[in-house]
């Protein structure tokens, strides 16, 4: 009980001013701002892909196999980034691929965040055997390398984009559960939670309304990292032939298709990978910026 006085509840701050403070610290970080701009651009490309892509991503142009990008000898002005082995426009496929990668990131984070928050809240709030069981299960999931476990899960569920997302969500979810649990344990005995309990808040209200909003900062950072991790893992599964299946223009799957042309047509390899790298890098830059802006320890007053 003695720590109650030492750790008073945070002073009420209005949402707008909290955001302004956050933005102040976030915008100090040039890399994070660049990452955010690139990310917004990618989202725009993904949303607008059907309208801005010069060609249908699945359309096969007979006789236009492995045409190099425009700026190289033999390029065709119709195909800015060239064509792949069966004559499809690479730029259009890359634009449509952005839809898949961002969707994968969003769905995986939504599933693993929801699952992780619920499990972490239950474990941290009730402790005892509930905590023990949940956390042991999380330990077991974490005992496997994530890509390997996702691979095996896809073997069970069958290859495909949706199954790959489910598998990746499952292996990323323990991180959220652990973070939530740790934050809940830290908050649970603070004064404001006890006050809520005294005035008669039920378990659900205490968990979701009182405690959860105060555990959000680490979860946001983890969600960003998981977003990029999910994109990487899904691309890796696609590359291994277990994620999205051809002819889906998913970037990892495109790389798998292009493997045999590695020494003949550099563009079919280089461009999809570059798209993955730029996307993941942009999100990680934002993640670093968020971590620094949300971590009170690093703020210099």
């Amino acid at each position: 009980m003695s720590n109650l006085a030492a750790a008073p509840a945070p002073a009420p701050v209005s949402r707008a001013s909290a955001f302004r403070e956050f933005w102040f610290y976030f915008s100090q970080n040039t890399g994070a701002v660049i990452g955010l701009v690139v990310f917004i651009l990618l989202v725009a490309i993904a949303l607008l892909a059907p309208w801005i892509a010069p060609h249908d991503p699945a359309r096969i142009y007979n006789g236009s196999f492995l045409i190099p990008p425009v700026w190289q000898e033999g390029g065709d002005p119709r195909f800015i980034f060239g064509t792949d082995a069966i004559g499809r426009d690479i730029l259009s496929r890359l634009m449509h691929g952005a839809r898949y990668s961002l969707l994968i990131g969003a769905v995986v984070v939504a599933i693993s965040l929801t699952g992780g928050i619920i499990l972490g809240l239950l474990a941290g709030y009730f402790r005892g055997w509930v905590d023990a069981v949940i956390m042991r299960v999380m330990d077991i999931i974490l005992a496997f390398p994530s890509l390997l476990l996702a691979l095996v899960l896809v073997t069970v569920l069958g290859p495909g984009l949706f199954n790959a997302m489910l598998a990746i969500a499952l292996v990323l979810q323990p991180h959220f559960a652990r973070l939530t649990r740790a934050a809940v344990i830290a908050e649970k005995n603070r004064e404001y939670v006890i006050s809520a309990k005294v005035v008669g808040a039920g378990h659900l209200r205490q968990m979701f309304v009182t405690i959860l909003p105060n555990c959000v900062a680490p979860l946001i950072v983890q969600a960003t990292l998981s977003f990029s991790g999910a994109i990487l893992d899904a691309a890796a599964l696609g590359f291994l032939g277990l994620g999205a299946q051809p002819p889906t223009p998913e970037w990892g799957t495109m790389l798998a298709d292009a493997r045999e042309f590695i020494l003949r047509a550099w563009w079919v390899i280089t461009l999809p990978g570059l798209a993955i790298l730029v996307t993941v890098l942009a999100i990680n830059l934002v993640g670093d910026g968020l971590r620094d802006a949300l971590d009170p320890k690093l703020k210099r007053s």
Partner: protein
Amino acid sequence: MLRFILYRLALIIPTFIGVTLVAFLFIRILPGDPVQVLAGERGVSPERHAEVLARLGFDKPLYEQYFTYLGNVLRGDFGVSFASKRPVAQEFFSRFPATVELSLCAIILATVLGIPAGIFAAIKRGSWFDQVTMGTALVGYSMPIFWWGMLLIILFSGMLHWTPVSGRIALSYFFQPVTGFMLIDSLLSGQKGAFLSALHYLILPTIVLATIPLAVIARQTRSAMLEVLGEDYVRTARAKGLKPGRVVGVHALRNALIPVVTTIGLQVGLLMAGAILTESIFSWPGIGKWMIEAVNKRDYFVVQSGLLLIALIIMAVNLIVDVLYAVINPRIRHN
């Protein structure tokens, strides 16, 4: 110290049971009839079906099946590969040295480059060196390594012809494996040029596998170093007039390295995941490539046992790291 080790061992038991349970359930939750699934497209006659079911023990209650499985695992019996008809454990351990060799080289490269890079970035905080190093580290951390490997092949094998595309050693060299480590075996064979050839084949896979651990280690070293450099005792050491090199190299570095050592230990899981992709790009004959082939061939006993063995090895390495950590850092073992 002994008490600490025993305590850590006791903590591992539930995870061990859980991991074996996951591996056990893997075969049971495959969709469809287990015998049909394992037999593949050839199919089986009804009599043979019942016989196989009984031989695999699938006709017994689930909990009994699990205890049989656990018993087999503890005796080192991991079943037989459907593709090669050889014991899975034998297949695993014949390929394991190739993966260990590659992983060790990768983690050594990552440590040797990552720690100094992190230290200098921390000392020269905000300088161009710091910014370039940390920018590069973030790119490395974001790298789809299967693509990175292919880029390196295009550049170094395709355009410059410096390195081979795949395999472990040139086909012109042949000798019996002694240790399973190509670098050592090639030296032992006494054949001229064999060691250099093995080294040639190792370079690109090592760079690819080292990329992400290198980025993680450099970032972690920098932040650990920055934290320590802000401590009072470092300021005291400076105030005493010690040379900057001594303050950083002796006083700060020792404490900064503690979290870094843990990070290096935790890379084992990452290395195993990375090995799956790296080995598949470079046709490196290790367990990563073996697992992918097993998944593609639906060789379920190999997938099951590969998963279990890799998890057990990671658990063992993590245990060793924890104990080593307690040896370096007395605060842990007295807690």
